[in-house]
C-alpha cells in the first residue's frame, strides 16, 4: 500500500518542491555555520575557532546563496519517474548492505541477474524460463569476467563475505 503510494508519487508542483529543498539547504548551512561557532555543541577545549574559519565562510556563503535561490524566478527542474527508479534504487541499496556479508562476487551476480530480470522491455521473449536461464548465464559470465580481471589480473581484493 505504502509502496504503491510512493511509486505513484508525482510532484506536480515542481516549484514547491524546489523551494522546500532550498529551505533544507539553508537550514543545513546554518546548522554547519553554528557548529563552526559553537564550541558548546562540540565542547573540546583544544578546538580553536580558527579550525572552523574556512568552513564558516563556506557555510555562510551557502546560506546567502540559498536565500538568493529561494527568491530566484523560473527555477523549475525535471520531474522524477519514481515508478521506474525505485525498484532499481532499492536493489542497489540491498546490494550495498548485503555485499559485506555474502561477498562482492556473489552479491554482484545476484544484483546483475535481478536488475536485468526486473528491467525488461515488452519486446523480449515471453518464455520466462528461457529468458531466466539466458540472463543467469550472462550474470555468471559477468561475474567470472570481474573475478578474472580484479582478482587474477590486477590482484586487487574486493569486499569479502562468508562465501568468497
Amino acid at each position: 500500500m505504502v509502496f504503491t503510494q510512493i511509486v505513484n508519487l508525482k510532484i506536480n508542483n515542481m516549484r514547491q518542491y524546489l523551494k522546500i529543498s532550498t529551505l533544507l539547504v539553508i537550514v543545513v548551512a546554518l546548522t554547519l555555520l553554528s557548529i563552526s561557532f559553537e564550541e558548546v555543541i562540540n565542547p573540546k577545549p583544544w578546538v580553536d575557532n580558527e579550525d572552523y574559519l574556512f568552513p564558516r565562510f563556506i557555510s555562510g556563503g551557502i546560506a546567502i546563496l540559498g536565500f538568493l535561490l529561494f527568491f530566484e524566478k523560473d527555477v523549475l527542474g525535471k520531474t522524477t519517474n519514481y515508478k521506474d527508479l525505485l525498484p532499481g534504487l532499492g536493489l542497489l541499496l540491498v546490494y550495498i548492505l548485503t555485499m559485506k556479508y555474502i561477498g562482492f562476487y556473489l552479491a554482484s551476480m545476484i544484483l546483475f541477474f535481478a536488475v536485468v530480470m526486473i528491467y525488461k522491455k515488452p519486446e523480449e521473449s515471453t518464455d520466462f524460463w528461457r529468458v531466466c536461464i539466458f540472463k543467469l548465464g550472462i550474470a555468471a559470465l559477468f561475474t567470472l569476467a570481474l573475478y578474472g580481471l580484479f582478482t587474477e589480473m590486477l590482484h586487487v581484493q574486493p569486499p569479502k563475505g562468508m562465501f568468497f
Binding site: D51, I96, V115, V116, V156
Partner: protein
C-alpha cells in the same frame, strides 16, 4: 624541444598495451549514448591507483582522447551524441547516415579528430612550459584565489543558473572540509565513523559522475526508445582522407577554435564543437547544405572537439584550473599520484609529465586506426541494453571505490553522494563544480590559512589586505567578479529569449 627526450618512454610494450586498451575501450564507452567521457575517466581512476604515475596518466589520457572521438559514432548512427562534445557532429553526421553514408561520415569524423587532436597536443607542448613559469610568481594568496577562480569559472559556465553553480561549488568545498584540518590537524564535521577519513577525491568523482548515470539509465529505461540504426554503407579510406585534407579551411577553423576554447577554463568540447560548426558554416561556400548532411560540418565539429583535449590540460597542469569537465577529473588523477600542478611539475615530475604529454600524440594515431577499424563494425556497440550498462557501471563503481582504501565507508559515501547528486541534478545543479570544490578545497583552505598567518604578521593583523593587494591578486579577483557578472548577464539573456 625537451619533450623529445622522453618519447622513448612511451614506446615500451606495457605503455603501448595501455594506450591500445585505453583507446579501444574509450571509443566503445564514448560511443555508448549516455556514458560521458567525464564519467568514463572517473571510473577508470581507481584502477590506475596501483600503477606507476606515468602509466596511470597514459591510460587516462588515452581514454580522454578516445571517448571524445568515440561519441561521434552514436551521434552519426543513431542521432544520439555519445558525449555533449558530439552534439554538433550529429547535425550533419546523422543526415549523412540516413542517406546511407554513415561509414563515410565516420571516416571523416576520425580523420578530422586526428588532425585536431595532433594540433591540440602541439599547442599543449609549446604553451605549457611558459605558463608554468608564470605560476612561479604565485604565493599563498594567489594560489587561494586561483582555486576560488577555478571553482567560480566552472560554476558559472557549467550551470544554467549562476546561483546553483556557485552553490554546487561551495557544497564541494564544504565536503572537502570534512575530516582533518590541513594545517592544524583538528577533526571537523565527523558526525559518523564513516566520515573519519573525509571525502576522498576519487570517491567523490565516482559517486558524482557514475552513480547519477546509473540511476538515469534505470529511470529512463522504459521511456528510452531503441534508436533506429542507420546502415553503415561503404566508402574508401583514400577518398575520405582526400576529402578531409581538401577541407583545409574547415580543419583550421575547427582546430584553432577548439584549441582556444580548450585553454579557457571550464568551457569543454560541447562549446568547442558548436562554436566551430557555426563559424565554419559562416565562412563556407556550402553554408546552405549545413544541417542537411554536409561533410564539412563533421570536419569542423570533430576537429574542434578533439583539438580541445590537449589545450584543456594547459591551465590544469600549470594553474590547477581544468580547461574542461574531464580535465577536472584528470586533476584528481594527478593528485592521487602525488603530482601537484604548477611550476614544480616540470622540475619534480618532469619525466612523468613529458611522457604523459608525448603519449597523447601516439594516442591520436591509435584513435585514428582503431576508430577507422571500428567504423566498419560500430553497429553492435549501439545494441548494448541500458539495464546491462547500468548494473555494469554500478558494480565497477563500487569495486573501484572500495579498492582505493579497502574501505566500506568509502562505498557508502560514494553511493550517498551519487544519490544526492542525482536528485540535485533534477533541480538543475551540476556535478562538475562540486567535484572541483572537493579537489580544490584543500588547496584553497591550506593557502587561506597560511596566507592569513603571513598576512597577519605582515599587516599588523589586517590579513585581508594581504589577500586583496598585489597585481596578480587583484587580477584574479577581477576575473572572478567578471565571470560571475557575465554568468548572471547570460542567464538573464537566455531567460528573456
Amino acid at each position: 624541444m625537451e619533450f623529445l627526450d622522453y618519447f622513448a618512454n612511451v614506446f615500451t610494450l606495457y605503455h603501448i598495451a595501455l594506450l591500445v586498451g585505453g583507446t579501444f575501450v574509450g571509443i566503445i564507452l564514448g560511443a555508448l549514448p549516455g556514458l560521458s567521457p567525464t564519467m568514463s575517466v572517473a571510473l577508470l581512476i581507481p584502477f590506475t591507483f596501483h600503477m606507476e604515475p606515468e602509466s596511470g596518466l597514459i591510460l587516462l589520457g588515452a581514454m580522454y582522447t578516445a571517448t571524445v572521438a568515440g561519441g561521434a559514432i552514436s551521434a552519426i548512427l543513431v542521432n544520439v551524441p555519445g558525449a555533449p562534445a558530439n552534439i554538433a557532429t550529429a547535425m550533419d553526421g546523422h543526415k549523412m547516415a540516413k542517406q546511407g553514408k554513415s561509414k563515410e561520415a565516420l571516416h571523416y569524423c576520425f580523420i578530422s579528430s586526428f588532425v585536431g587532436g595532433i594540433f591540440g597536443v602541439v599547442i599543449l607542448i609549446f604553451f605549457t612550459p611558459p605558463l608554468a613559469e608564470l605560476s612561479l610568481k604565485f604565493g599563498t594568496t594567489e594560489l587561494f584565489w586561483i582555486a576560488i577562480l577555478g571553482i567560480t569559472i566552472i560554476a558559472t559556465i557549467d550551470s544554467k543558473s549562476v546561483i546553483k553553480g556557485l552553490l554546487s561549488g561551495l557544497f564541494g568545498l564544504m565536503l572537502a572540509t570534512i575530516g582533518d584540518n590541513p594545517v592544524l590537524g583538528v577533526e571537523r564535521f565527523v558526525f559518523t565513523e564513516h566520515l573519519t577519513g573525509g571525502v576522498n577525491i576519487v570517491v567523490g568523482l565516482i559517486g558524482l559522475f557514475a552513480m547519477p548515470q546509473v540511476l538515469n539509465l534505470m529511470e529512463n529505461y522504459y521511456s528510452q526508445k531503441n534508436a533506429a540504426l542507420s546502415a553503415v554503407g561503404s566508402s574508401t579510406l583514400m577518398s575520405s582522407f582526400r576529402y578531409v585534407f581538401g577541407r583545409a579551411k574547415a580543419l583550421s577553423i575547427g582546430s584553432m577554435i577548439g584549441s582556444i576554447i580548450g585553454i579557457i577554463p571550464g568551457a569543454g568540447g560541447q562549446i568547442a564543437g558548436l562554436v566551430s560548426y557555426d563559424q565554419t558554416k559562416k565562412f563556407s561556400k556550402n553554408s546552405d547544405n549545413y544541417g542537411k548532411g554536409e561533410p564539412e560540418g563533421i570536419v569542423a565539429a570533430e576537429s574542434a572537439n578533439n583539438s580541445m583535449v590537449g589545450p584543456s590540460l594547459i591551465p590544469l597542469l600549470t594553474l590547477s584550473i581544468p580547461g574542461s569537465p574531464t580535465a577536472a577529473v584528470l586533476l584528481g588523477g594527478l593528485l592521487i599520484h602525488g603530482i601537484f600542478p604548477g611550476h614544480e611539475i616540470f622540475e619534480t615530475n618532469k619525466e612523468v609529465i613529458w611522457t604523459f604529454i608525448d603519449s597523447l600524440i601516439l594516442a591520436q594515431f591509435l584513435m585514428l586506426f582503431i576508430g577507422l577499424f571500428l567504423s566498419r563494425h560500430s553497429g553492435w556497440i549501439m545494441k548494448v541494453p541500458d539495464n546491462y550498462m547500468a548494473v555494469g557501471i554500478f558494480v565497477l563503481a563500487v569495486f573501484g571505490t572500495y579498492s582505493i582504501g579497502n574501505s566500506y565507508s568509502d562505498v557508502l559515501i560514494m553511493v550517498s553522494l551519487g544519490t544526492i547528486m542525482f536528485f540535485a541534478s533534477k533541480a538543475g545543479f551540476s556535478a562538475v563544480p562540486v567535484v572541483l570544490g572537493i579537489i580544490l578545497g584543500p588547496i584553497a583552505e591550506n593557502n587561506f590559512l597560511l596566507g592569513k598567518l603571513i598576512g597577519g604578521a605582515r599587516f599588523d593583523g589586517n590579513w585581508i589586505l594581504y589577500f586583496t593587494t598585489g597585481t596578480i591578486n587583484i587580477t584574479l579577483i577581477s576575473i572572478c567578479i567578471i565571470s560571475i557578472t557575465y554568468g548572471v548577464y547570460s542567464n538573464r539573456k537566455s531567460k528573456n529569449k
